[in-house]
């Protein structure tokens, strides 16, 4: 991992007046520039994060007290369903794709993504996809309400929203596959001379592996929802027992996609944290090779554990045994990663800039999510945990203070590189502390609720669950409001602020080609490839 810094490379000194961005909206509509597209992905994902977050607040507002106060139970189900679809496919995934677009070319010394027009197409497909999904909320019969997993037969009771939601998934999937192909082609072909695979930054590595996961599983999901479509409109019975089909088949197909999907969301986060912790520990990443192999092992294992989401469907004993043991195995490479991050900090020289705060919160809170994941792997105990708030707590711990905090860490890490300004660090730290406190208030009590017996996806609950639901809702509103601060910090930083140097984090351990280009990164970078020793 030794990248040469090509300070203020000669290629960036002169103006690119013939290659500058187009004016006005055309720039964004027709751009093939990885930085523009990266920015659009990130802004899109931020908007979706707020929309999905608003839906989460509808859920938490209804759950604030026992009794039905605000919404119809059917609409409540729509909210849980669309909240999840938006957060998974509209917020977390596009955010990591946006970061990949911005940072992979800068980190490997490439002038742009390898397939720039497809890059533009894959972004705008995503906009089409989520327009459809949002439109589906206004269809007769209400929006999709069968949960983001879209299990038949329930999902086939959806009204006119069903085809819209399915086409939205098709388009988002096509967009993801194109993005993944682009990332693989870019990494495989456009690395600067001398940057061998095992010299790539960890963020690039984690995205390379993620991209393969995406290509492997998105078509599977597309196939599953297409079968739903034909079951609904063309009288097939893939999933209808009455016609010789099998409702459980859908679950197997869905989770064959769904489990790698979980790692599609978290592996880029691992990559981000592996960049930030060494920087602010002023020490090289501990066990680089082991990190790469651990990421690859997790990706491999993600294909053979899917049915741990389905322990209660009535699998044969041997099946339950296999999926329990294979799932437990994932704890090993994941543990290696956590230990390596800890060892990176050991005898380092730590400072606590905003990105480091988020990365450290990730380290603690993701680990908590990992522990509950291990508990759920134990099939007999999962018979109790399954479909309760314990599960809700678990996956929100790995997704919110896990993936989302890592994305925020990345934004605070690279934002000065993108804008050329340092953001308001006081406000950014305030955003961190409010988020970190409220996210725990929001999700930690959900462990208790689940253990005490509260099922997930219910709009109302027995009075014994009242206290912790209230705490959780208070946490939700605090966390939600804190994100408005995040938007403001980003807006303020884009508008202006203290100029930063090319290296941005001058007194930390900056390593990697992205710090060799000026801040803000010029519209075109690495016209001439840097050489990595």
């Amino acid at each position: 991992m030794s990248a040469t810094k090509t300070h203020g490379a000669a290629g960036h000194a002169h103006e690119h007046d013939d290659h500058g961005p187009a004016k006005g909206f055309t720039r964004w509509l027709t751009t093939t520039n990885h930085k523009d597209i990266g920015t659009m992905y990130l802004v899109f994902s931020l908007v979706m994060f707020l929309v999905g977050g608003a839906m989460a607040l509808v859920i938490r507002a209804e759950l604030f007290m026992p009794g039905m106060q605000l919404v119809d139970p059917g609409f409540f189900n729509t909210m849980t369903t669309v909240h999840a679809l938006i957060m998974v496919f509209g917020a977390v995934m596009p955010a990591t794709v946006g970061l990949a677009n911005w940072m992979i070319p800068l980190q490997i010394g490439a002038p742009d993504m390898a397939l720039p027009r497809m890059n533009n197409f894959s972004f705008w497909l995503l906009v089409a996809a989520f327009s459809l999904l949002i439109l589906s909320l206004f269809m007769p019969g209400g929006g999709p309400a069968a949960g983001w997993t879209l299990y038949p037969p329930l999902v086939l009771q959806t009204g006119d929203a069903l085809p819209l939601a399915i086409f939205a998934i098709h388009l988002a999937g096509a967009s993801s596959i194109m993005g993944a192909i682009n990332i693989i082609v870019t990494i495989m072909n456009l690395r600067a001379p001398g940057m061998t695979l095992l010299k790539m930054p960890l963020f690039v590595w984690s995205w390379l592996i993620t991209a393969y996961l995406l290509i492997a599983v998105m078509p599977v999901f597309a196939g599953a929802v297409t079968m739903l479509l034909t079951d609904h409109f063309f009288h097939t019975t893939f999933f209808a027992a009455a016609g010789g089909g099998d409702p459980v088949l859908y679950q197997h197909i869905f989770w064959f996609f769904g489990h790698p999907e979980v790692y599609i969301m978290i592996l880029p986060a691992f990559g981000i944290v592996s960049e930030i912790i060494p920087t602010f520990s002023r020490k090289p990443l501990f066990g680089y090779d082991a990190m790469v192999y651990a990421t690859a092992s997790i990706a491999f294992l993600s294909f053979i554990v899917w049915a741990h989401h389905m322990f209660t469907v009535g699998m044969p004993l041997a099946g339950e045994m296999f999926f329990m043991l294979s799932t437990m195995l994932i704890a090993v490479p994941t543990g290696v990663k956590v230990f390596n991050w800890t060892a990176t900090m050991w005898r380092g020289s730590l400072s606590f800039e905003t990105p480091m705060l988020f990365a450290l919160a990730f380290l603690f809170l993701f680990t908590i999510g990992g522990f509950s994941g291990l508990m759920m792997a134990i099939a007999p105990v999962d018979f109790q945990y399954h479909d309760t708030y314990f599960i809700v707590a678990h996956f929100h711990y790995v997704l919110v203070p896990g993936a989302v905090f890592a994305i925020m860490a990345a934004v605070y890490y690279w934002l000065p590189k993108w804008t050329g300004h340092m953001y308001d660090t006081k406000l950014a730290n305030l955003h961190f502390w409010i988020s970190a406190i409220f996210v725990n208030l929001l999700f930690f009590p959900q462990h208790f609720l689940g253990l005490a017996g509260m099922p997930r996806r219910i709009p109302d609950y027995s009075t014994q669950f009242a206290d912790w639901n209230m705490v959780s809702s208070i946490g939700a509103f605090g966390f939600g409001l804190a994100q408005l601060l995040f938007v403001y910090v980003i807006y303020k930083c884009a508008k202006g602020g203290t100029r930063v140097s090319a290296e941005v984090w001058d007194d930390a351990r900056v390593e990697g080609l992205e710090w060799s280009v000026p801040s803000p990164a010029p519209y075109h970078t690495f016209d001439e490839a840097p050489v990595v020793k």
Partner: protein, 294 residues
Amino acid sequence: MKMVKRAFAASMALLFGSSPAMAAWSDLNLRVGVTELSREIYGLHMLILWICVAIAVAVFAVMIYSIATFRKSKGAVPATFDHNTKAEVIWTVIPVLILVGMAVPAARTLVKIDDTRGSELTVKVTGYQWKWQYEYVDQGISFFSTLARSSDEARQLDSGIAPESVDNYLLEVDNPLVVPVGRKVRVLITANDVIHAWWVPDFGMKKDAIPGYINELWFRADEPGVYRGQCAELCGRDHGFMPVVVEVKPQAEYDAWIEAQKAARQAAAAPVAQTAAIAPPVDHVETLRVVNAE
């Protein structure tokens, strides 16, 4: 304020799990339940929880120590090492050993859960949107079990009825399942429309009710009582409103209940020719007729 106090007491209970605040602890943790399986599952849960807590304490201690000690502001000079094969082997092998230690008892319990042989009573449970049907396969008794009217009225949007004023809000039904104490009950589970899941936390068991499938689980309740659970698989609009209530009665009371059911059905079915054995109970004849008329 009461809530804050409760939260404080609860977090204290969490910190000092086995100390006096046992009442609060039981609100936070899995229930021990009243069956052999639920107790074993609880034991497994606690075993893994404590292993996780122990690992967490060790790992978080190192993290916190690093954060507190190796600070740039304290003039810490960074070391330059970037790997240590011995350490890496150790922290790969030890977790594997711990996992094996967890897997062995887990596998043993799993085998026991799977063994439905030797049951003394078979009940068939069918999930409907949004109620349960219980059939006593050998006694020819069958009835529906729906959310109690008091809860149903209170749960309507802006009903004006405080949930606290309703007994067992959302966890009460009109006709509970009744089983004898100390008998191995085999439950066959299926569904008629969409997927549901039948779950009684105190029995430690949950199983999906899937149209076209007949799943099974077993339990043997050791203490008489009323045990409450809920549908645990999203099944549409009223998923939150189809509780499971099981009454575990001493054998004699159970036998009397069975006889009373049979007598009631005979009385109700008398005018309806020969279908008594499979006819639904009194209060559902009406509903079924309406459905058939459509």
